[in-house]
Amino acid sequence: MFDGVSNFSQSTDLAFFFTLVVSIFFLVLITVLMIYFVIKYNRKRNPKATNVHHNTALEVTWTVIPTVLVLIMFWLGWTGYLEQSRIPANALTIEVTAQMWKWSFKYPNGKETDSLYVPVNKDVVLNLHSIDVNHAFYVPKFRIKKDVYPNQKRSAWFNATETGSYDIACAEYCGLNHSYMYNKITVMSENEFNAWLNSPAKHPGEILASDTSLIKLPDSAK
């Protein structure tokens, strides 16, 4: 459940965990009471019912407590969201183009790729746009998702906390091969990333072949 690997995973997972615990509590409460009443006040056991119209103290309690709880949940979600919506300055900025049914990425120095490579522990901003229909850029492990529109700009950002290779999915239905619009995001150490970015190699694996002394790659990046 808590396998997020970006700067947002902690706040998102905390909000999720809190709402989940509260939800389970209420679900269990309701279900247990229901079963208990059905057994205890079954017609065979309790052939005489009693009319109970209302109980003010009870009603106030079950209005106030859930209200307070949802306000806390709201707050957790809102602060988590705000972090995501504040696009940092001085970040590595990558132009992302979505189309039916692939992604492409363009780095500040003009380099273009089909998969995304980013440095670890560094702010990365994605400027998203589409050239045909709506898509959505989704990295489940980073807890980020942003709709991508034609002729409109959207931005998302993250700071990856662990090197490795993760899935990018398209989360807005976009026609025939929507479910094949998968790609990878590879998080590397900053040195490896810079070496790759400034080399002509398309994939980091290619530098490795040409200059083994330069960098050591994580397995997942190959």
Binding site: P66, F74, G77, D147
Partner: protein, 552 residues
């Protein structure tokens, strides 16, 4: 609740099923303005579409059993989930309880002989039928069935070459059917209540149908005009929503959800009404918090109209927009939560008889709670960013629309079936089928929550191997649920022809007006209009010792 003496003896009068008016035979049904016959027309047509929709759902689940191709290609899958959505939403859950049980029982519950505008009522069924036929036509015409999803998001819906236009017009016409029903019910509740039935003496299902009717009237025109504009854009190339023509696709989403969120209350409120109706009967005691339940229907209808953009938290709204829509979404959950507490409290010190309608109602409470609680999770901004457009959402709305409204519909059917047809289904079988349905439903949809949180997007023909285990469990659930559904319908159909005859007025011991008239009801329900003197659900006989209903 009403004075027994004012209901004259109508044993000699003929039931609405046998009544001969101006027309006879099939025309006596197709041209009848009797609200009960119209209710049955709806019941038949809705059931047919439900079965078609369920079949599509079953096929989707089969396809998802294994990664890669299992039984169909991606284009077919995309069309099938679109048809499944369009049929389930526009032809089953939205008309749902109001069209069938609202038409049949609303006038009876308030002591009236018919709805305010009987001919308009018949017209609304014809509009429903035309809409349904158009939807079927969109499958059969060359070009292939629409593949946009039931949401018709732009620009995809102006780009695809499939039959989007007939599907749009189907939804457009079905909207009018819904509006006419709404107009009819609001007027009926205002003008046709029996003498003495003031607002707070109305049964709770009347309150919820009344609140629903306002939403139908106020929200449906918005989807009508929006879908019409999509058609205009597609046919004439006018740039409204399509960015390629200078339009704004996000504007479309706002307009779509300004209707479609309130529409979820059109779907759920009437089911909540049925739950409030059934619990006191089978617990044989007064409902806990009548006024609150009545008022919360209105509150839900009102505030539910202000939260539409919670479907667009990843679309890139302003921070203010996100804040307001998230906060309001959390607040709207409160009246629903309190309703659930009231229902559970109504079981306290009751004398509970677990007949099939009650079993469906208890399952409703459980499943609606899961749907509602996960809805709150989706209102939490950062969490929604993770689960939006994943199978978490698919699980959530099936828990609300199927586990809630669907089960509410089945509860109503089991509850009112003997009154409507004067026949009793096999109760033992109905209870067994219920358990299969309950187990099947939860096996089918619960795994979708887990894989959704893990990142399985929705509307996916194919998936990564790590999600297969959840897909397999889910598909097995459909193998339990779907046969159970067919058995349920089979039980009813068998009962219609061979079931034990019921002539008793009050099979379950209810205290609302429908249980004081003949079974099945006579042509105009009441010979003399009743005079109402008491609130519903009094159960003043609670010093009596009750017997368990023996399975018939």
């Amino acid at each position: 609740m009403s004075n027994e003496n004012t209901l004259s003896n109508n044993e000699n009068d003929v039931s609405y099923l046998e009544y001969k008016g101006k027309h006879s035979g099939i025309l006596g049904w197709l041209l009848s303005t009797d609200h009960k016959r119209i209710g049955l027309l709806y019941l038949i047509s809705l059931s047919v579409f439900l079965i078609v929709g369920v079949t599509f759902g079953f096929l989707m689940r089969l396809e998802l059993l294994t990664p890669g191709r299992t039984i169909m290609d991606p284009q077919t899958y995309n069309s099938i989930f679109t048809l499944h959505g369009v049929i389930m939403i526009f032809l089953f859950v939205v008309p749902g309880l109001p069209a069938v049980f609202g038409n049949f029982f609303l006038p009876i519950l308030i002591g009236a002989r018919d709805v305010a505008f009987p001919r308009l009522n018949l017209l609304s069924w014809y509009l429903y039928a035309v809409g349904g036929l158009l939807a079927i036509l969109s499958i059969l015409l060359p070009g292939g069935p629409a593949d946009t999803g039931w949401t018709f998001y732009i620009p995809y819906s102006v780009r695809t070459n499939t039959n989007v236009i007939p599907a749009l017009f189907a939804a457009f016409i079905l909207g009018f059917s819904s509006i006419l029903t709404g107009v009819n019910f609001v007027t009926t509740v205002h003008r046709m209540r029996a003498p003495g039935m003031d607002w707070f003496k109305m049964p709770l299902s009347v309150w919820s149908l009344y609140a629903t009717a306002w939403v139908q009237i106020l929200a449906t025109p918005i989807i009508g005009i929006t879908l019409l504009l999509v058609a205009v854009e597609r046919i004439f190339g006018v740039g409204l929503f399509d960015p390629a023509l200078g339009g704004d696709p996000v504007l479309y989403q706002h307009l779509f959800w300004i209707y479609s969120h309130p529409a979820v209350y059109i779907m759920i409120l009437p089911a909540m009404g049925v739950v409030s109706e059934i619990i006191p009967v089978f617990a044989h005691r007064t409902i806990f918090g009548y006024r609150f339940i009545a008022m919360s229907s209105i509150a839900i209808a009102l505030f539910g109209s202000l939260v539409w953009a919670h479907h667009m938290f990843t679309a890139g709204m302003s921070d203010t927009g996100q804040l307001i829509f998230s906060l309001l979404t959390m607040i709207v959950a409160i009246p629903s939560a309190i309703k659930v507490f009231n229902w559970v409290a109504t079981l306290y010190k009751g004398s509970i008889d677990l007949q099939p309608p009650m079993l469906y109602v208890l399952a409703f409470i459980f499943q609606f709670s899961i749907g509602g609680l996960t809805g709150v999770m989706q209102g939490v901004l950062s969490v929604d960013i993770q689960v939006h457009d994943t199978s978490f959402i698919v699980a959530h709305f099936h828990y609300v629309m199927f586990g809630g409204t669907g089960f509410g519909f089945f509860a109503a059917l089991h509850y009112w079936f003997p009154k409507m047809f004067g026949k009793m289904y096999n109760i033992k079988l109905a209870k067994r089928v219920f358990w299969a349905m309950f187990v099947g439903f939860n096996t089918l949809y619960f795994p979708m929550f887990i894989m959704g949180w893990l990142g399985m997007p929705r509307r996916y023909y194919d998936y990564l191997p790590e999600y297969q285990i959840y897909h397999v469990i889910s598909t097995i659930g459909s193998w339990i649920l779907v046969p159970a559904l067919f058995l349920m319908f089979g039980n009813f159909i068998y009962a219609l022809f061979k079931g034990a005859k019921v002539t008793e007025k009050n099979v379950w011991g209810g205290e609302t007006l429908e249980w004081q008239i003949a079974t099945p009801p006579v042509h105009e329900n009441f010979i003399d209009i009743p005079i109402v003197t008491e609130s519903p659900y009094q159960y003043k006989d609670n010093e009596l010792v009750l017997q368990t209903q023996e399975a018939k």
